[in-house]
């Protein structure tokens, strides 16, 4: 309506903080954008403090709207020219070049300050090129500076921005406004400079005033009650309706906003990624070079000639890459992967584009398109203008080398990490709002601890009242509203786990760069969604522990065989490996080692590589919430017919027997079964990705279900599909990733099956990683007939190693907690041929300090010359050291120094001492000792349970190694108990858990009476009565050392 009224003025808002000006702006960029459109504004500038972080989101919201988005930023300088007031102003980007200038200035200010802050001086503004930016000056108030200082400041700006300077006037209806307007008019007159209206906007709507007040109080580290004049006097800093603006500002001032808006032609969508040209040798085109590299790789991959089908695939892919001009992207990734290869760093690509024939030839992935029939439709989508997606995993211990290579190759000017926007989550929001409202922090913590986060129906308001945080019910309501509004607000920018942005020119002209918390790391101001929405590319350099372990295991196997051994040398589709996995024997194997996966393996019975792809993807919230697991298993084992309503659905679901498992399939189904258009399906995909933070899936439900009913699908299937979509939200697991992971599952399982000692040795040397502790891995190793030997100064190195022709696993000195790495290395390097003969010799030869010596004694790592750990300790407590320089070996140095008063350690004491020093023991399991002492008379061992009938009451006991309450299992707690024969799975229902919280939550040694349940080879104990037997651990020996 407003726009139609001819008397209504037009207006462009040029001063607007979004919530990317942290603790200041009280609205999201998209909220501001949408409201500006509703209000009929001509243009909207987002001008966050020394930042353009809010721009991509505002741009995405305004893409299809008549409102023009202007990119700008607000600055307050640290100092001022002589005699002038401190300048505060807004710079607006007039063109792409001006945008680059703005980014450069922001980068200068940000790089100079600590993370999250900026520092700019007036000299910076003088020395930076800013001739394509417009400047809006915010003159100081009467209280801040006198007239002369204000005028001097204006003159300085006028010199720098002649004909590009405006004085900004606001009408916030606060006390003293007349004086300020008078000053603005006077200055305009003196400087002959136009005045423009602006709203000093902090929120999109007046309703956000309370939240803005809360943010202000937090910014000043105070409570609302004490914030006083730090708060704004009213809530006028919002996007006000045009009639209001018309009443407040002279027409000329409003018209100036339009002139400025018109002058600003820069549009964020015009940003294009400019690839580094370095990678293409001179004289070659990118496309030609990529083609050449691909064909070279092809000859290596297929020495006997490329299969026809793969040749066709390569041709098709290269065409598509050329068409979309993505050559540089593939070349960049190839370059990084080639570097890793040359350094012997294992890596593996994944993602839609990674599992392509081209990537296989380039060595980016090991997934061979000839062996696996995969769906490459999402390889690169021609319809969507969206960059391809390749994540590359590297060995976790050596990823830093790759990152340093990227910095070195492209320089810090041209490479930086993408940001991750850290947002308010329920805990932090409750904490901060509570702080601002002046609630007692201890009570807030108590409230937080009391909230069951999974229980969505929790009545927060009642809890707030119950905990006496406030007596005032209206405050409780406010609290609730504020917390809900604050959820999802950005708090700060952190670094992305590994997403690099690399550019041809200085990165700072494309996106501002700022400091990360980590030393020597810089991040750009945009996160991966922002980059995606603007069509910019990033390269994901991620860390994966399993790759370290695999590389180490391959090296050990090569050592044993006497020839280097590579992943390619591992035979494919080995039946023995699948047989092992089918038994659920998968501790340590990549991805399928969790309890849920161990239970799934015997049910799914993987027989082929593709079964592993499904295995990896099926134990996830999506398929579980969609109740797709059981139908799949029934069909896989032929208990239910496989049928399809039509051919379109068949094409989507054939590989998974008619049951949707992967995210891609669900989206495809929305198209073929519910009639979504390609665009709608893409929206659905985005909503799923964003669902956890701020997305909303409900709009799709109606459409999905009616669409499917219309096309003759049954309502139950439609509802389940929707549930699955919700389950995917935030945890989407696409087939392309599963395919890459499944490869590592197979490789690690094969090593475990055929070279168990190398497998466990490599895993232990890559700790910390995976689900299991070294103690659990060592026990599993011994169950697989691997002989494990204790750490010993006369045999061990720092790392764990394999000894002798029988490949016994010798624990390394690294297992001794707290031992210095340098000391351990010297023990190894300086070891005499015949080994150390006494503690004194060890100390002297290896230059060990007292701390290391004590740790070695505590670990009983000197069995060669000490009778037990007590005596070892007594020996090295002798502080008198011989004068090092002229030390002569005397026979006394090799005399054991025996103290008859010290007791002999008992087996129990040794077990506990082992745990204290190494976190594991090679002696008998504590449970075996307790059983022998008669403490566990009616308890069955894990081994005995396997041969026990289902349905009968049993008793078990064990060390608690895990307590889990998965989100997908309603209220059930899974407890894992460890005894001397293996693990026992205990299932505790919500009611049982509630009644027996104390033993469930606190016991370290738990006794369970329950009923045995069995499904195939999987055995559970459904818990009835729980009792805490932790005190028995102390009764093992007479020893008060804490058992952990």
């Amino acid at each position: 309506m407003a726009g139609l009224d001819s008397a209504m003025p037009d207006y462009a808002e040029l001063f607007c903080f979004s919530n990317f000006t942290f603790l200041t702006g009280a609205s999201h960029p998209h909220e501001l954008a949408e409201r500006a459109a509703e209000m009929g504004y001509t243009a909207l500038a987002i001008t966050d403090t020394c930042s353009v972080a809010g721009i991509p989101r505002a741009w995405a919201a305004l893409k299809d709207s008549p409102v023009k988005l202007i990119t700008g930023s607000w600055f307050a300088l640290e100092d001022a020219p002589d005699g002038a007031a401190t300048p505060r102003f807004i710079l607006l980007a007039r063109t792409r070049r001006g945008y680059g200038q703005l980014c450069q200035l922001i980068t200068t200010g940000r790089r100079r300050a600590e993370k999250g802050l900026y520092r700019l001086f007036f000299r910076d503004v003088e020395t930076h090129e800013l001739d394509d930016c417009l400047c809006l000056w915010l003159p100081p108030t009467v209280a801040e500076a006198n007239t002369d200082q204000a005028q001097a400041c204006g003159e300085w700006l006028l010199r720098l921005f002649e004909h590009r300077l405006w004085i900004a006037a606001t009408r916030t209806l606060e006390s003293g406004e007349e004086h300020q307007l008078a000053r603005v008019r006077w200055l305009a007159d003196q400087l002959r400079c136009p005045i423009t209206a602006c709203g000093e906007v902090h929120m999109h709507s007046r309703e956000r005033q309370p939240l803005q007040d809360v943010l202000t109080a937090l910014r000043y580290h105070t409570t609302l009650e004490h914030a006083g004049y730090c708060l704004f006097q009213n809530g006028e800093r919002y996007l006000r309706p045009l009639p209001v603006l018309q009443r407040l500002f002279p027409e000329e001032w409003l018209n100036q906003t339009l002139r400025i808006a018109e002058a600003c032609s820069f549009e964020p969508g015009s940003l294009r990624y400019e690839y580094p040209p370095d990678l293409v040798p001179s004289g070659e085109t990118p496309a030609g070079y990529l083609k050449r590299l691909t064909h070279e790789g092809e000859r290596q991959r297929y020495p006997g000639g490329t299969p026809l089908q793969v040749q066709a695939l390569i041709r098709k892919e290269l065409e598509l890459i050329s068409l979309m001009q993505y050559e540089h992207y593939f070349l960049t990734i190839h370059d990084i992967v080639a570097f890793a290869r040359s350094q012997g760093i294992l890596c593996q690509g994944r993602g839609s584009a990674a599992n392509s024939a081209v990537c296989y030839c380039l060595g980016i992935t090991e997934v061979n398109p000839a062996n696996v029939e995969l769906l490459f439709e999402r390889f690169i989508s021609k319809d969507r203008d969206e960059p391809p997606d390749i994540d590359v995993d590297f060995e976790h211990e050596r990823r830093e080398e790759v990152i340093q290579y990227i910095y070195q190759r492209y320089t810090r000017e041209r490479a930086a990490l993408a940001a991750t926007v850290i947002r308010y989550r329920p805990r932090s929001a409750i904490r901060d709002v509570g702080k601002a409202l002046g609630f007692d922090p201890a009570l807030v913590e108590q409230l937080l601890d009391g909230i069951d986060w999974r229980d969505k129906a929790t009545n927060w308001r009642q809890q707030v009242l119950d905990k006496h945080l406030t007596r005032n019910p209206s405050v409780a309501d406010q609290f609730f509203t504020l917390v809900n509004t604050l959820l999802g607000f950005p708090r700060h920018l952190s670094q992305h786990v590994g997403g690099f942005v690399i550019s041809a020119g200085p990165l700072a002209e494309l996106i501002p760069v700022e400091n990360a918390a980590m030393k020597d790391r810089t991040v750009i101001q945009w996160d991966k969604d922002d980059l995606e929405s603007l069509g910019l590319m990033k390269v994901d350099v991620l860390a994966l522990g399993m790759l370290s372990a695999i590389r180490k295991a391959l090296a050990l196997i090569g050592e044993q065989k006497g020839v280097p051994f590579h992943i390619q040398d591992i035979p494919q589709e080995d039946p023995a490996t699948y047989a092992m996995l089918q038994k659920g024997d998968s501790i340590g194997v990549f991805q399928v080692e969790s309890r849920a996966q161990i239970n799934m393996l015997p049910r799914l019975k993987p027989e082929t590589y593709y079964d592993l792809v499904i295995e990896v993807a099926i134990v996830r919230p999506g398929p579980i919430q969609g109740d797709m697991v059981h139908p799949y298993l029934r069909r896989k084992h032929g208990l239910e017919p496989v049928n399809y309503p039509n051919d379109a659905v068949r094409r989507v679901l054939e590989r998974t027997l008619g049951v949707p498992i992967f995210q891609e399939q669900v989206i495809k189904l929305a198209m073929v079964a519910a009639g979504f258009s390609a665009g709608e399906a893409d929206q659905l995909r985005r909503a799923m990705a964003a669902w956890k933070s701020h997305g909303d899936l409900t709009p799709f439900r109606e459409k999905l279900i009616t669409g499917m009913l219309e096309r003759g699908h049954d309502a139950d299937f439609a509802e389940r599909l929707y549930q699955q979509i919700c389950g995917f939200g935030g945890y989407g697991f696409p087939e392309s990733h599963a395919a890459s992971f499944a490869l590592l599952v197979y490789v690690s399982a094969w090593i475990k099956r055929h070279y168990p000692s190398a497998f466990y040795c490599a895993l232990l040397n890559s700790q910390p990683m995976g689900f299991y502790s070294p103690s659990q891995l060592v026990q599993d190793a011994r169950r697989h007939q691997v002989q494990v030997l204790p750490p010993d100064v006369n045999h061990s190195q720092w790392d764990h190693s394999l000894e002798g022709p029988d490949r016994h696993l010798r624990l390394g000195l690294r297992i001794i907690q707290g031992l210095s790495r340098e000391g351990a290395n010297r023990i190894h390097q300086n070891r005499p041929g015949s080994g150390y003969r006494s503690a004194t010799e060890l100390r002297r030869q290896a230059h060990l300090n007292q701390r290391d010596m004590e740790l070695l004694a505590g670990a009983n790592a000197m069995p060669g010359f000490t009778t037990n750990r007590h005596q070892a300790y007594w020996q090295l407590l002798d502080h008198e050291q011989p004068a090092a320089l002229f030390a002569q070996d005397t026979p006394a140095d090799y005399q054991p120094d025996h103290c008859p008063l010290l007791p002999e350690p008992s087996e129990g004491q040794n077990v506990l001492a082992d745990y204290a020093s190494q976190g594991l023991t090679l002696q008998r399991h504590p449970l075996a000792l307790l059983r022998e002492q008669g403490h566990l008379r009616f308890c069955l061992t894990s081994e005995q349970l396997k041969n026990t009938r289902a349905g009968i009451p049993v008793q078990v006991a064990g060390l608690v190694t895990g307590r889990q309450r998965p989100g997908s299992a309603s209220g059930v707690t899974f407890v894992t108990l460890e005894d001397e024969t293996g693990n026992v799975n205990v299932v505790v229902w919500l009611e049982t858990a509630r009644r027996q919280r104390k033993p469930l939550l606190t016991a370290r040694l738990l006794h369970v009476k329950g009923v045995l349940e069995r499904e195939g080879d999987i055995v559970h104990v459904m818990a009835g009565k729980l009792s805490d037997l932790s005190h028995l651990i102390h009764s093992l020996p007479v020893n008060s050392r804490d058992f952990q």
């Binding site: 007040d213 009650e225 009213n234 409202l437 009570l443 750990r869 007590h870 300790y873 104390k998």
Partner: protein, 472 residues
Amino acid sequence: MLWLYLHFPHLLLDHIRRDRQDQRPLVIVEGTGQHVLQACPEARNRGVQTGMRLKTAVTLAPELGIVRAQPEQDARILEDQARWLYRYAAHITLVSPDGLLAEIGSLQKLYGGLPAVWQTVEQALDEHRLTAWAATGHTPLAARLIARAGKGECTGDRGHILRTLETMSLATAEFDAKTCTRLQRLGLNTLGEVFALPAPELARRLSPEILAHIQKIRGTRPDPQAPWQPPHSFRQQADFVQEIEHSQGLLFPLQRMLSELEDDLCWRQQDTDSLHLILQHRHEEDTRLRIRTSGPEHRADGFLNLIRLRLEQQPLRAPVVALVLSVKRFIGREAPAGQDLLGKSQDLNEAWHTLISRLQARLGDHALKRLSPQEDHRPERAWSASEVQSKHKPRLTNPEHLPRRPLWLLQGPQPLTEPPTAWFSGPERISGGWWDGERVHRDYYIAQLRSGQLAWVFRDVREGWFIHGWFG
């Protein structure tokens, strides 16, 4: 010499519980609120343990009361205990945070034997509703270790005490963590086993300090203790987990505090004529009351009646979270009270207090206020009339930065009944105060009324016009 050691396993809990009528489970948490430091028996029954994460504790006992520990508070409460123990024993040492040591060898004769001393102390503990683990020892450390291990007995037999020590585990011997680990690594588990090692070896292989510690425990090395001196003033504090909303609820804890005061005064052989009572509130300034008796007084009843009257006169401003009773002025019992309160001997400060006190007595507390500016956008809250005795210093704002306000602000807005003849400035919009339930949303103007007066008028959201003040 014979020493008595009292170990208070949960002193802060006892302190809080004795001023509480209900017995909900209660825990003390460390400053950051993450871990449980002390748990009362009710809480322990539900599985709450010391060192447990608060989160776990709340899961075990959802109705748990939580108190945050403050080190200064611990020290103060321990001193309270020393004060009453001082009545029985002259040589006392405070062992912070939770122990008292008293030399009792010299008392045996006075009380007629060790058991009588023991009984007297136990009775006193009972009266004060305190949990303490007591033990005797021939050295201060022996008494302390045995008490803390909960193995205390009433015995003066050195051999018996040593035998008790020998069976005690290393963890209870208060070696530092490093030493403890070292001794354990040697396979030693009891103090007796450590006693058995040759002294020179101990000093050489472990450290001379460890040897000294052991010798102090056994009594072969002196361990002098500096005696504690009681303070010159009286101060008692009660802390409440649940706020007290009515003055009636203050009388229960007051009764106890006043009877301690009476004991204290009796012991000092002195009287007083003025009590300070501070009521602490969660969000507001403290209420400070000064109670003056008509003459020197020491009886709890007398004080209680006066305070009751005073509290009846003056309802609580806000719920009370803590109550402090202090006396700084003591009057010798035989000396007559000063005749003229404003006499030369009184300093000016005293004169001021006396004047205020007299004015308050004559006019009532509410009649006396002190004015100060307050940072708040709402005009009616931009100033405050606070308690005269409050020590709060208001933040000073540069007057130039203050908003433009009339000198004469009306008690409350009055409806504007006539259209003004002229408008001078405005609107100035004030909107805020949503957080305390007194939200305002108004547009203010300066307007001239028919009478020629310059009025500060506003229109509020409900479309009404009001006069809020007058410009000169």
